[in-house]
């Protein structure tokens, strides 16, 4: 109570449009490999030791530390007593800016605490678990080795992609030594393409339609695949690169084997990275919100990953999902709320499918960056517009000129093209904005975790020392204390409303009132344990539920009630046994 005015004064001293003073001194306007990212996260933690704790939750397949930063203000209660939000990124090794967004979020929370009243209040009533990279090996690999924008999604546990008994024996090769995996083009008298005379960087397709004289135009170049050679001499190129699985298909809910879902792994949580994250989350039933960052496309995605799981998102949950996603669409230019199976593609065993459908937690995946952002009006750019952007704004740094290379089986070829930075990574000068807007989105999501309050209460004497006690429990946020999914499938513990009396046998009967928020209706008595009401469906988002107890107690005595939910801070209520309240 004493702190609040001081926070307001401190905040008032800052110009609202200026950046908050950075406690860590870190600028999030450039990319960091895994070691650098981890160092930055540790630095943030070191500068806010009263707020952040770093926990190593496991090791990656190659032995890198898996790290979670835990943001909790211990003076406002232990972690387990507060609703929590899990935020992660970069489960696909090449989707790198996800790591920066998570790191920025951690830094921004620390900078805001004590400076921005709304965020201070949110931090003080919540816990944040931030995992900057779920795939440290993949991240490190992307930065340190030659790759494309699309590789490597995988972790680095060796895998036999081509079922030849050998592991990772024939991946792409950086033939021109430019640090990126580009394209190969071979000279071909029956080619499918020609070099564009206006811009020889481009290969344009020749028409397949016959000309009036019946002949078909021939090009002089044909695409020869991704940069690489036949390392294992099996006649194929690049057919078994590093790893080759997808850790975002390795989670328990709707996990399906490889013939249904490519890359799923031999069984759910088969990789050390997914296993340790799952163990961490399962040990924290207070997690009430989940955000996972990927790239690219400007999407705010929710499940289901497959059509047959539509029923996993009942109307009461969709209300929260829709409201949060709609707020995100306002905060994130170019981003659109989407449903994974319907608007993207089918996913079995995805991470947010597990957290949403298996754990009953409101969960989103954001696909960071969309090149709609390069257009003044936010429309989708043409290839020509994209090229101008790369030339004029990125100064051609994402293109590697075509270079002649002697290929062992293809002969003389051209190697080059757009490099790994060209399409999916947010341009560095827009990175901080990307981070900040997504940070704002996740804090909005976090702010919608359940917040309980006692609403109307009423105590009526029924005579002979018997009292009717009614209490309305309100949830002032959009996420229910138990999602419809959790209630439907019996996930984790239901909420509990307990009543304490000096004489435990004094609770005669109890139950809920069917119509929310109305005190003057009859209630439905429970058949057992009236002093310990089990609230299977919890308190709805932006709603309330009324409960009633019939108790024996002395006039003037105090009755204590406690409402507990795994997804909300507990609520304690004391009522005097004397006529009170309104109908």
């Amino acid at each position: 109570m004493v702190m609040a005015p001081m926070i307001v004064i401190a905040a008032a001293a800052l110009a609202p449009q200026d950046a908050l003073p950075s406690k860590s001194g870190i600028a999030w306007n450039r990319y960091r490999d895994y070691d650098e990212l981890l160092a930055a996260v540790r630095q943030v933690a070191a500068r806010s030791p009263n707020l952040v704790r770093i926990e190593e939750i496991g090791k990656s397949a190659l032995g890198r530390p898996m790290v979670v930063a835990i943001v909790n203000n211990p003076t406002t209660g232990p972690e387990a007593s507060k609703p929590a939000m899990w935020i992660d990124g970069n489960i696909h090794g090449n989707e790198v800016q996800a790591g920066e967004v998570v790191g920025y979020t951690l830094d921004a929370l620390c900078n805001a605490h004590g400076q921005v009243p709304g965020l201070t209040e949110l931090i003080d009533r919540s816990v944040f678990y931030l995992c900057p990279s779920v795939n440290p090996d993949g991240r490190d690999e992307w930065f340190s080795k030659a790759h494309t924008p699309n590789s490597n999604r995988t972790g680095l546990q060796p895998f036999d992609n081509d079922r030849d008994g050998e592991l990772d024996e024939d991946g792409p090769d950086d033939l021109d030594g430019d640090g990126s995996i580009g394209q190969m083009w071979r000279k071909d008298p029956n080619g499918t393409h020609r070099r564009d005379p206006r811009d020889p960087r481009r290969f344009t397709p020749v028409s397949r339609e016959p000309k009036p004289d019946g002949t078909v135009e021939r090009g002089d170049w044909s695409f020869a695949g991704e940069e690489g050679i036949d390392n294992d001499g099996d006649g194929r190129v690049n057919e078994d690169g590093q790893g080759g699985y997808d850790m975002n298909r390795n989670w328990p809910s709707d996990w399906q084997p490889d013939h249904v879902q490519r890359g799923a792994g031999p069984w759910p949580l088969s990789y050390p990275e997914t296993r340790c994250v799952a163990e961490f989350i399962l040990a924290r039933p207070n997690i009430a919100a989940v955000q996972s960052y990927h790239n690219a496309g400007g999407m705010i995605l929710r499940g289901p990953g497959v059509q047959y799981n539509e029923s996993a998102y009942p109307a009461s949950d969709r209300a929260a999902y829709d409201a949060i996603a709609a707020a995100g669409a306002q905060m994130l230019p170019g981003y659109r709320p989407m449903i994974i199976y319907k608007d993207l593609y089918t996913v079995h065993g995805g991470f947010v499918n597990w957290t949403a459908e298996g754990l009953g937690v409101v969960s989103f995946t954001n696909e960071l960056w969309t090149d709609d952002r390069i257009m003044q009006n936010g429309s989708a750019p043409t290839e020509e517009q994209r090229t101008r952007w790369r030339d004029d704004v990125l100064f051609g740094r994402t293109f590697k000129d075509w270079t002649e290379v002697q290929h062992p089986t293809l002969g003389t070829i051209l190697v080059g093209g757009q490099n790994k930075w060209s399409s999916r990574a947010t341009p560095h000068f827009m990175l901080e904005e990307e981070c900040h807007r997504n940070f704002a989105f996740t804090t909005f999501h976090a702010s919608q975790m359940p917040l309980l309050r006692a609403g109307h209460t009423r105590v009526r004497s029924l005579g002979e020392g018997v009292w009717e006690v009614s209490v309305e429990i309100c949830n002032d946020r959009r996420i229910p204390t138990r999602t419809g999914r959790a209630a439907d499938r019996g996930i984790a513990q239901p909420d509990l409303l307990t009543i304490g009396l000096s004489d435990p046998a004094g609770v005669v009967a109890a139950g809920g009132v069917a119509e929310g928020g109305v005190l003057d209706r009859t209630y439905s008595p429970v058949k057992a344990e009236p002093a310990r009401l089990r609230v299977e469906r919890g308190i709805p988002g932006l709603g309330s539920t009324v409960f009633r107890f019939i108790v024996r107690a002395n006039a003037g005595s105090t009755v204590r009630l406690r409402y507990e939910s795994q997804k909300a801070s507990p609520l304690d209520i004391e009522l005097l046994m004397q006529e009170s309240g309104s109908p």
């Binding site: 079922r163 030849d164 008994g165 036949d230 001499g233 099996d234 006649g235 328990p252 809910s253 996990w255 399906q256 084997p257 490889d258 013939h259 249904v260 031999p266 069984w267 759910p268 949580l269 799952a278 399962l282 497959v306 047959y308 079995h348 298996g358 089986t409 499938r489 019996g490 996930i491 984790a492 513990q493 239901p494 509990l496 058949k527 057992a528 344990e529 089990r534």
Partner: protein, 589 residues
């Protein structure tokens, strides 16, 4: 060599877990198993876990190197999970088909463990009990994991009635914040947790059953069309220990291991685990399968059956891409092996059992292994009824009635506890009684020797059915000077397909690969590596290349079989006259 006594069998007859170990009995001729005195109950006959493990160690020690005892993992409580490897050539260089036997997945089917261990013993000690073990072992490696779930085994012996084999962290089944607080319980103090018939049923939990007039110990649904009213409801014997209005709703224990595998995993069932393979016992089995790619078949002794009755081949899971039981293209295989089983064991009846999340279901659906399940025994036919009972009314559940008849006429009525009235503290008037726990799942010990013989016979027959894929011949022809056409003919002259249809769907088992070791310049036709995905019993396949080969040089082709074996084919000048040579290569894994 002195043949060691029947260690496992001997221990199987110990009447009491607490009884001291008995000196080994003289070996009995395997064709005439010793007949022990019939024990009074089925449970007293089972030996302790420690005694069984000791017998496994003795078996390994006395087997002249044919049996090795290895650990495949550690149980939740820290017990070793043992695997026996039985082979006639411990240092075998070229792999032969391997059969894996798994038993003891729960605490209810411990006889399966004794049978599995007994089969291993039969093979290891070359006893000619319905099988020619020596001949079989020449072409077979046998892996036996007799006690896949040792914690359940150990607890099951001490408290068989309330612990059906659940392991690991205790689970709050009813999600009320209290763990294992209301397990089924022996309410009437007769030493058994049985069933209760609730006679005073409230309106919100009404009666559902009536006694069957054919035998009032049994029950059936009332016939509403005849105005018949239900008289009682059935529930497990217990109290409402936590006062929540439910009886026996939060049993002791954690994960059911045999429900913790990925195929059709019941995600929201309390005992199926928080995620597949969470139980270390399940994970150990899965890792064993993953790291032993040469397995030709898996035989599971326990809850399920896929041999007395052929599994359904039409149902698919929710994706439509994985069968619930078996693929239609594997139906013939299961029918044939089922017939072999019925002929070998005489077992033709089976009980329905949960299949979701089971080890066997996963082995087949996700790993593509031919996986066969046996419930170890079947209900014996009861002796004929007395003359005055022959016109008794027909019972609603004929199988249950037959079990009762067998209990009454042949087992001293030990199988069923008569219903006895009891004043229950929260349910009012009840009757307590029902099936003696384990009566219908564990055979009497007296049956074990014969069962071991029969199952050993089946395993031998199963081994004889293995796929036998090999290079039949190698043809070489000079097409032009310096140009050779090579043709490798392959044949499967075994009785199983090289891979199941399921394996060809899920790609869990690699194809047969032939790889020509030639430079890209020397290869004129064909790909360097050729693959054969399917080779059914009695079928052939041919693969050809045309290569440049100078005189006095040779071309080598590696033949990599799905089992992990590989051979080398050599084509040189002599091959033009006599065909190419096939050299046994050995193991790849």
């Amino acid at each position: 060599m002195m043949i060691a006594p029947l260690v496992v069998l001997q221990l199987a007859f110990v009447q009491d877990a607490a009884a001291p170990a008995q000196p080994p009995a003289p070996a009995a001729p395997a064709t005439e198993p010793a007949k022990p005195a019939p024990p009074p109950t089925s449970f007293g006959e089972l030996i302790s876990l420690e005694a069984l493990e000791q017998s496994l160690r003795q078996l390994a020690a006395s087997s002249d190197g044919k049996v090795t005892l290895a650990s495949i993992g550690t149980s939740t409580a820290g017990r070793t999970i043992h695997a026996l490897h039985v082979t006639s050539e411990p240092k075998r260089k070229v792999p032969v088909p391997a059969v894996l036997i798994v038993a003891g997945l729960d605490g209810w089917h411990r006889s399966g463990s004794l049978v599995a261990a007994g089969v291993a013993e039969r093979f290891a000690l070359e006893q000619r009990a319905a099988i020619d073990a020596r001949t079989v072992l020449d072409g077979l490696d046998l892996w036996v994991i007799p006690i896949a779930n040792p914690d359940a085994w150990a607890v099951g012996l001490a408290r068989p009635q309330d612990h059906a084999g659940r392991v690991g962290a205790r689970i709050d089944d009813d999600r009320d914040g209290r763990v294992d607080e209301d397990a089924p319980r022996d309410v009437n103090g007769d030493g058994v947790i049985a069933m209760m018939r609730r006679l005073d049923c409230p309106s919100d939990a009404p009666a559902t059953r009536v006694a069957d007039a054919a035998d009032p110990r049994l029950d059936r649904a009332p016939d509403g069309a005849k105005g018949e009213l239900a008289a009682f409801s059935l529930m497990v014997e217990g109290l409402d220990q936590d006062g929540d209005g439910s009886v026996g709703e939060d049993a002791i224990g954690g994960i059911t291991v045999d429900a913790n595998f990925p195929h059709l995993w019941r995600e929201f069932a309390a005992d199926a685990g928080r995620f597949p393979l969470e139980a270390p016992e399940a994970k150990a089995l899965a890792e064993f399968i993953r790291t032993h790619p040469g397995l030709g078949a898996v035989y599971v002794l326990g809850r399920q059956d896929s041999l007395a009755r052929t599994p359904n081949h039409e149902r698919r899971d929710i994706t439509g891409r994985t069968p619930v039981f078996i693929d239609g293209d594997d139906k013939a295989l299961y029918e044939r092996i089922g017939k072999l089983y019925r002929d070998s064991t005489g077992i033709e009846r089976a009980r329905d059992a949960a299949h979701e999340g089971s080890f066997a279901a996963w082995c087949y659906a996700h790993r593509g292994l031919p996986t066969f399940c046996s419930q170890v025994w079947q209900r014996p036919d009861p002796s004929p009824p007395p003359e005055d009972k022959k016109d008794a009314p027909k019972p609603a559940d004929e199988d249950a009635a037959a079990w009762l008849a067998w209990s009454d006429r042949d087992q001293g009525s030990r199988g069923f506890l008569p219903w006895k009235p009891f004043d229950h503290p929260s349910l009012g008037k009840v009757e307590i009684g029902g099936w003696a726990p384990g009566f219908r799942t564990e055979p009497p010990s007296a049956m074990l020797p014969e069962l071991i013989t029969k199952h050993a016979g089946f395993v031998a027959a199963l081994a004889g059915e293995s796929a036998r894929v090999r290079v039949e011949r190698v043809k070489a022809r000079e097409v032009a000077p310096g140009v050779t056409e090579i043709t490798v003919d392959l044949v499967n002259d075994g009785r199983m397909p090289m891979t199941t249809a399921m394996a060809r769907t899920n790609d869990a088992i690699p194809p047969l690969r032939l790889r020509a070791k030639v430079g890209i310049d020397a290869l004129l036709s064909g790909d360097v590596e050729r693959r054969i995905e399917r080779l059914d019993p009695g079928s052939r396949a041919s693969v050809s290349w045309t290569v440049r080969r100078a005189p006095k040089t040779h071309i080598e082709i590696g033949v990599h079989y799905p089992s992990g074996r590989f051979d080398r084919v050599i084509v040189d000048d002599d091959a033009l006259l006599y065909g190419g040579r096939v050299l046994e290569g050995g193991w790849e894994w």
